[in-house]
Symmetry: C2
Subunit: 349 residues, 2 copies
Amino acid sequence: MSSDLPPLSGAPTLEDVARVAGVSRATVSRVINGIRNVAPEIQESVHRAIATTGYVPNRAARSLVTRRTGAVALVVSGAGDARGGESFESRVFADAFFGRVASGVVSYLRPRGIHPVLMLADSAQTRDDVVSFLRQGSADGALVVSTHGEDPLPKLLVDAGLPAVLWARPARPIPISYVDLAHRAGAALAADHLVARGCRRVATISGPFDVPAAQDRLSGFQEAMAGHGHPYVPAVEGDFMPASGEAGMHRLIKEHPDIDGVFVANDLMAQGALLALRDLGRRVPEDVAVVGFDDSAAAACRPPLTTVRQPMEDMAAEMARLLLAHVADPGFRVTSVIVQPTLVVRESA
Amino acid sequence: MSSDLPPLSGAPTLEDVARVAGVSRATVSRVINGIRNVAPEIQESVHRAIATTGYVPNRAARSLVTRRTGAVALVVSGAGDARGGESFESRVFADAFFGRVASGVVSYLRPRGIHPVLMLADSAQTRDDVVSFLRQGSADGALVVSTHGEDPLPKLLVDAGLPAVLWARPARPIPISYVDLAHRAGAALAADHLVARGCRRVATISGPFDVPAAQDRLSGFQEAMAGHGHPYVPAVEGDFMPASGEAGMHRLIKEHPDIDGVFVANDLMAQGALLALRDLGRRVPEDVAVVGFDDSAAAACRPPLTTVRQPMEDMAAEMARLLLAHVADPGFRVTSVIVQPTLVVRESA
DNA sequence: TCGGGCGCGGAGAGCGCTCTCCGTCCCATG
DNA sequence: CATGGGACGGAGAGCGCTCTCCGCGCCCGA
């Protein structure tokens, strides 16, 4: 408890612990790591020495030799340099999406002693930064969430031979692992539900056509509706933001006043659509049934939104799992995991 | 361009670059860092060598000797182990708050080549992890966002002599730097506005009483109203979530049917309050004026919410600035930065 | 009683980088 | 022409850790 051998300068090192325990550095190292071939009583005295010295292994020194950092980059990547409008950062971080992904990633990584390093890649410069960061050995791999299908970062990573896993299938096929949702199946769930409810004149508000997930949700919905004998489904395009859902709903009702069911491609837009319906004096779900997608804004909707749930946290955790597999085994096959969505029935449909 | 001196194994090192450039390691190091006393033509050839070898400095090796990591921990810290209800993570990451803080932090750190490492501290175990992480030299300091005033982490950090900066003033005073909003002044802004609008019977929906910021907003509001000749302000307690704002509003109207103005302690609850008012058939702002706080949910409200803006991104960036100051100069004085809020007038009041 | 094997622990060589000397060379000055 | 000083570049010593040898001693079987 008292000062045995006060560490000369700064933090205690392996050497200090070894001296206190009366063994060699190597033995202490063994105890700390794989505990291979060390007599129980020696392990005990080493542990005591660690406790009295307050020793913590130095990560830099360790990763210098192991070539592992115990960190992965969590990259939020966008087109950047190109699209106008508000800043990239504010768009990405504006809703809870990022927080949920972070939460899922952390839940998987934390028990394994790995930490995610937050990075933004919204320009050629910052994309190079990400690649350099990994090549420097600052992180063992990257988890990439692209906000745009044409994001060039994944290819840069693949070309550099860096372990990486993507959120969502890339627009053009490249050999990289990713985790995605079965968007078409989810949209079909919505279609089935609307039809089963008895809706006869169904429309949809889709996401931006240049986002693959939005395309899939739209075509999946149209196909499923066609299967139910509704070959034509009126559709308007939104941008995944509440205001566009509101505007889209107004347009839809104006052009097709007899609509009795709507599939909205994400909850944020559905929230806006609900507001519009209310303004228009349509009751939900009696006059118009509404089904959303994502299950991200349920609490904020009136009435509570029936929606297709995308298990973001689970998907993010799965990304982390895949990445660690790639890091541990460079020969690990490129894999894509497609997660099945579920329908959460509340009151709006 | 062709293979000059193929790096024997793995990535090229300083040695490789030095060999290609025909100089010593030390010279290359000088060129890469402070460029001190190196002839221009030699610098040039070193740069060429770096380009041809594709060299990137190894971070572990560098930080082993510099004792700097170029990383800071971004810790989301809560009481944990104690409160029930849904999981800690889901609560923290549920809204855009975390994303906005992250965005502010990154905007300041990125140009300086520093990266934030995401950490969660919601139990004694994980709090120790954070301390160890820093003591290991995995990060140079910590940015701590506590969701609870009694969070023990700040004290642990101070006791360990680790550089750290807090979001918001800690419940009990400890010598640590923090950035906070002038909550009382913000609440006064709301009071002034409501009174100036002609509201005579004003009430408030506050945040949880055990959160210091909520207390400040409440007492600041009450004081300002008293100054305007309204010594008594009906108040109900919420939990900062939309549902509680809705419930609170119902209660308020039931107990005080003649209310014509409400100050809601955050936008999320204000959103719920607006919904309730709508259900109750009260027009906003004609019958009841509503002022929120934070400016975090403006777009999602109908009508658009008049609110007290808390510049989260700026505050987060300020935290990062303070932290780097502490890291660079261990003698840097403990500092608290109090940011002034502004009133954003929209349609709800 | 002795030899072989194996369980254990120590010595030592780096990992890639920075940084402190220190030597060299060149130029300006007396 | 000798000398001092400044500018520049190299040598080498670690930073703290892991890991591969090795050697020692104990236990077992013959």
